[in-house]
Amino acid sequence: MALLDSYLSAVKRCLPRKHRTDIAAELREDLLSQMEARQEELGRPLTDAEQYAVFMQHGDPMVVARRYWPNRRSLSLGWELIGPELFPAYLFVLGLNLAITLAVIPLVNVIYHAPITVQPFVLPVAAQIVCVTAVFILLNLVRLKFPQQWIYPPAELASVIPVQRWYSVSGLVACSVLMLWWLAIPYLPYLVLGPSAGELKLAPVWHRYYVPVLLLFLAGMGQRALIVVRPDWNWLLPTSRTVISGIGAVVMFFFRAHPLVVVDASAKNLEHAEKLARSTNAWMGWGLFGPWLWLYLGIGALFYAWYSLPHLRRLLHAGLDRIRPVHELNGVL
């Protein structure tokens, strides 16, 4: 029943709060009846893949849940940009991001004894709205294109679904671009320093952390490349990402604790260069390599650790060979 409960908990999360338990109980009963009927037909208990096929036929948890909402709001501009299935999640994420932004900016201003004005809010708020909206429009497009695919199914279900190739390929491309950028930094420091490259140089901390970060990029690329070839190795994604993101969070935490740039001895105006180094360290320490980066990696590690648990549980119970019933899904997906 673990798979059924996992599916139902995903539906339940998106149901109207007032009737959540009641609706979930009724859906549970219906799914159990369907599974029993199928079992009778086959004369044996259903495999994980067959159970998953029942859920696929029943529908994406978000879509199933949204049918119970009386007011199905969406974002449209002539055509639908964010559908009613994603709209509540969009509002939640946007609201959360804006709340964090509106809380952090005054806090920073208070710490640095700066007056609180409207101007520092404009750009971050506009950027949050544009970025979150763009991400959700993209997700909506993916959902329309692959209506039966779940990007992040619940952990128990994810453990029986092959990883989608487009997901691994897009990750591989993004990881390759970032790694190329990282590889080029020692030869082209302006990729980090910008126009200040003549007056500033990278601090020694870069030498200490350069290889560990490069190894993390390589590990990330290797994991993605392997899953492109073997999408049925679905245990590899959460387990390797738990380790990579976890180490990445620790590395980035210590990396940004040091000054990231120092004045280049060849700088013509030392006073100006020192001022520039201070401001560059500030924007890099709070921007490009800001706390968001290790927080993002740390949260990512926890997220993937959660997705690793079903694999670990199965491994403890039945051995690695039996944790992959995903071959059976080839006919289903």
Binding site: I23, E26, L27, E29, D30, S33, G59, V64, R67, Y68
Partner: protein
């Protein structure tokens, strides 16, 4: 999809869906003259040639119950709790009126089609 218009098959699908929507309500009310739970109701509808997916049926049952046309009750059967639905007295009256309406529309359509 040229000039913002939709293609023939899509129009047909939309119209079929609209036609089915109204019929489905009548069919569900008619089936629930005798008490049933969701799964058996769906099977009964399918057996009579009206396939309906769970994602459509359960929200519809809930809506009809909110409107007072159905009453429901959780009860144990075969060691499992199931929600049984049946027609309410108001639902019964409404069903009769809907069936009259249905017959009248059907008769009109038949007349029109015979004229053609």
């Amino acid at each position: 999809m040229a000039n913002g218009t939709i293609g023939g098959p899509e129009i047909l699908e939309n119209l079929k869906m609209e036609l089915r929507r109204g019929c489905l309500i009548v069919a569900v009310l008619a089936q629930l003259r005798s008490e049933q739970y969701g799964y058996t109701l769906r099977k009964a509808l399918a057996d009579d040639g009206l396939e309906v997916d769970e994602g459509t049926l359960y929200p519809l049952l809930r809506r009809l119950e909110t409107q007072g046309l159905l009453v429901s009750q959780w009860r144990e059967e075969d060691k499992r709790n199931k929600r049984f639905y049946r027609l309410s007295p108001v639902g019964d009256q409404i069903l009769n009126q809907l069936l009259n309406e249905w017959q009248s529309i059907n008769a009109s359509l038949n007349r029109m089609l015979q004229e053609v």
